[in-house]
Symmetry: C2
């Protein structure tokens, strides 16, 4: 066996959609690249973090892993090696996440579930609908995804608040909050959207105190990670009408166990981690862009800091 | 009784929301304006066309009617007087209509009704969702509302086609079609949206031939007038899966009679003429703007052509 040529980069695909990735990458005719199937030969791995984790210790010549996901938790376990460059998928989910967030915001304003029920009952339901215009949305976390959600919210005439560690990069955020100003950030929001990654600092950041700052007509949306939410506090807020609704795409445990109370919590809508699928055409573009940098010996884009976790 | 002063314009409010309009207009302190309650005294009427119609023949000093609606059908009957200036509400519905159209497009792409059903059945439904990006939307009618829908569709990366009598005013429409090119306009659309007013030319323009040009995954949305649709043809297309869905806000007869087949037609969603409510704050702004022109003796905005019907 052994490498086909001494120095040509060997790419291993570890993805449920290997066939599609192979077709796209072969069609791109990237200079010098071999696509290999032997774990021991590969310098580069493109794939899902959970699949890659299983073979991580056997990748003896590993230099770079490109994740097809934004979240790379399976590779962040402190017991795992960190002697390679890990890049995640970024810049491709913002558009999809924005469609998701705005779609569910409009579903709420337009009472589309209620109107469907009215139709079933043959009721001509003329009750007034709301509008996004002028409403206040607060983004917990404003990275590349949050910036795109902010841009879309601004298009619809919303007021946009952002809570970040320190960055203030998006011009579509009207007011930034940091550190101790979390409760001030949440106070009076019509919509609270968490786009936070799973890190030590974000654990259960959405707790009873934070939810208490929201008006009772507010809706909470989680498209980040389930770990950011105190699930009991959220259930209590919803069941006691302290909150008008929650739209959850992510959960502490996925798939959500059948016995979990979320399935039947009042005004809780769940979407099974489908908000921003990794379409191979999008992710392959990220890989191809990074591969060009790789063979030129330049720093790769979207590098994950193992300590920070994103 | 008689006018309070000889030449000061007298405004009569004929609206279900008279109290709100009175408060807003009084707060605006418009020069010379009296708000009156006597039909015989009024030069100007602001209100709903169906309410105004009942008193139309008694308005002996009538000069101008400002409709709170976009549609003014009740005042267009050829048997009614036309010796006054009729202006309708324009420029205020585009934003609301865009929210409605994009909201229901996203509901379709994101399968939000299907996911709600999955949640009820405690099924972790990971099936892939679609995106608006790259999809083709066709607008039947591109006036001020259509232009705003086009702008919003473009924001989401859609391809936009427009069908108009002759105008090509919106830069957000990629391809315009006119006259005989109706079927070419419809061919291959992912979404067909009718924003047409009720006129002779638009009657049943959405017929079996037009619907046949749409792919079976397409969705039809009607936010214009119900008269533009051949209802039997639409029912047949939906029941035979020639069309994936229809979202109807308007109908030939409103409220829709209980025995109408639309209530239970497959994949048909109805919203009871709620897509773009006339919020008094918005309509009052239109009136105030036109009132300034009125007292300056300048031509009013948004004048309706009684012959054309809009």
């Amino acid at each position: 066996m052994g490498k086909i040529t001494g120095n040509m980069p060997n790419l291993l695909l570890l993805s449920k959609e290997e066939t599609i990735y192979r077709a796209i990458i072969e069609a791109a005719r990237l200079p010098e690249l071999n696509i290999v199937t032997q774990i021991e030969e590969s310098d580069i791995v493109l794939g899902e973090p959970n699949l890659i984790r299983e073979t991580l210790s056997h990748l003896s010549t590993l230099k770079w892993i490109q994740s097809t996901w934004a979240g790379v938790e399976p590779l962040l376990d402190p017991s795992l090696r960190r002697d390679y460059i890990l890049t995640n998928a970024r810049g491709v989910f913002g558009r999809l996440m924005s469609e998701y967030v705005i779609g569910y915001l409009l579903a709420h304003e337009r009472s589309i579930f209620e109107r469907m029920a009215a139709q079933r009952n043959k009721q001509w339901d003329k009750s007034l609908t709301g509008t996004l215009h002028g409403k206040i949305i607060g983004l917990l976390g404003v990275g590349s995804i949050g910036a795109e959600v902010a841009r879309t919210a601004k298009f619809f005439g919303m007021q946009v608040r952002g809570y970040t560690k320190s960055s203030e990069a998006s011009k579509y955020v009207d007011n930034y909050f940091h550190g101790q100003d979390l409760l001030a950030f949440a106070n009076g929001l019509d919509y609270l959207v968490s786009i936070l990654p799973n890190t030590k600092e974000t654990k259960k950041i959405v707790d009873a105190k934070l939810l208490d700052e929201l008006p009772s007509h507010a809706v909470f949306i989680n498209v980040g990670r389930g770990s950011a939410v105190d699930e009991s506090a959220l259930i209590e807020a919803l069941e006691q009408n302290k909150l008008a609704g929650a739209i959850l795409d992510v959960f502490e445990q996925e798939p959500l166990p059948k016995e979990h109370p979320f399935w039947t919590t009042k005004n809780l809508t769940m979407t099974f981690h489908t908000s921003a699928p990794s379409f191979p055409e999008d992710i392959a573009r990220v890989f191809i862009e990074n591969y060009q940098l790789y063979i030129e010996g330049k720093p790769l884009k979207y590098q994950v800091d193992f300590e920070k976790g994103y």
